[in-house]
């Protein structure tokens, strides 16, 4: 999974899931976890979630909002939105090409 030069390492894929999850509005950790599981069908561990959140926040792709009780919501920044849009467009082109090729051979 390309990470647009943000050097996310093994957190590149979980980070994309988180960015997609935050695309429709701010969410706290638990809401992100359940949303990602719903989108991908695969649960995301708490260690992976917070490893990715820390990286995304540090790179200015998301920002933390004021906590509500013990839950702190996160939201996309402008940079994060641009990055997730670019990645999804690339993935969309990749998927389209793959489907076309499959269509040619079947």
């Amino acid at each position: 999974m390309p990470d647009e030069g943000f050097d996310l390492g093994r957190f590149a894929e979980p980070s994309l899931y988180i960015l997609v999850s935050l695309s429709d509005g701010p969410k706290h950790g638990y809401a992100i976890m359940t949303d990602v599981e719903e989108i991908t069908g695969t649960p995301m561990g708490p260690g992976t979630l917070y490893g990715a959140l820390a990286r995304l926040e540090r790179r200015g792709l998301i920002e933390a909002l004021e906590p509500v009780e013990r839950r702190r919501p996160y939201r996309l920044t402008g940079l994060g939105e641009a990055m997730v849009r670019a990645q999804l467009e690339r993935l969309s082109g990749f998927a389209r090409t793959g489907m076309e090729r499959l269509g040619e051979t079947s």
């Binding site: 976890m33 708490p46 992976t48 917070y50 490893g51 820390a54 990286r55």
Partner: protein, 249 residues
Amino acid sequence: MSALVRLYPQAWRDRYEVEFQGLLEARPPTARDRLDILRGALDARLHGEIPGSAERPPRIAPIERLAGGAALVVGLALTAWTALLLRDFRGWDAGEPPTAFLIGILGAISLLGLAAAHALLGLAGLGRTRAFGPIAASIAVACFGLTAFGGGATLIYAVVASVVLAVAMAGRSIPVWLAIAWIGATVGMTGAFLGIFSSDGTDLGSLRLLVPYGLAWILIGVVVLVRGLPARTPARPIPAERATEPQAE
């Protein structure tokens, strides 16, 4: 569950502990989640990716990983070799040549020591010890190479190589605890050498002093692998009058 969270570094806990604990209470972790948390704690300790904390640690260059790995293997091999010597040692002059197995291990240690010394000193030579680096590397490599011949002189070569390594590393801002560990281990190894020779090669006890030397290599290897080589000491500024001198044709 709080025990698992305590594995994270303090800076991470200051920032995330409250919400993380809240998450774990809302969704009790499975065994797989617990492993994931362990992995996350290790990652936080190794990479320190915490918003608002100090500058991100620099990426560790492949050459630094090679140097650290070589130092780690040297340490493990040296410790294993010492253990074998302590088991089988009969004295250098007891008329019993070392077994082929021991010579093989010593050769492997020498080759790895050569790689470690070359990598460490080559990198150290990039700083203010630019001129000294290649010379020191050559001396250390030669000394480690000579250890392959075994015998009592082995430790002399190893001591010389250690001192040269220590001097070359002085060009870097080594953490105090690491410098103390290194000096202590080298003193221990020198003690082992003196003990062996003062007893005509029959003093088994002094060989134990080699153990901290092997452990120091292991420690250095782990530190270099995890944190990279210590930052280079900045070069001294060139005096203004020299900086403006015309270059010789």
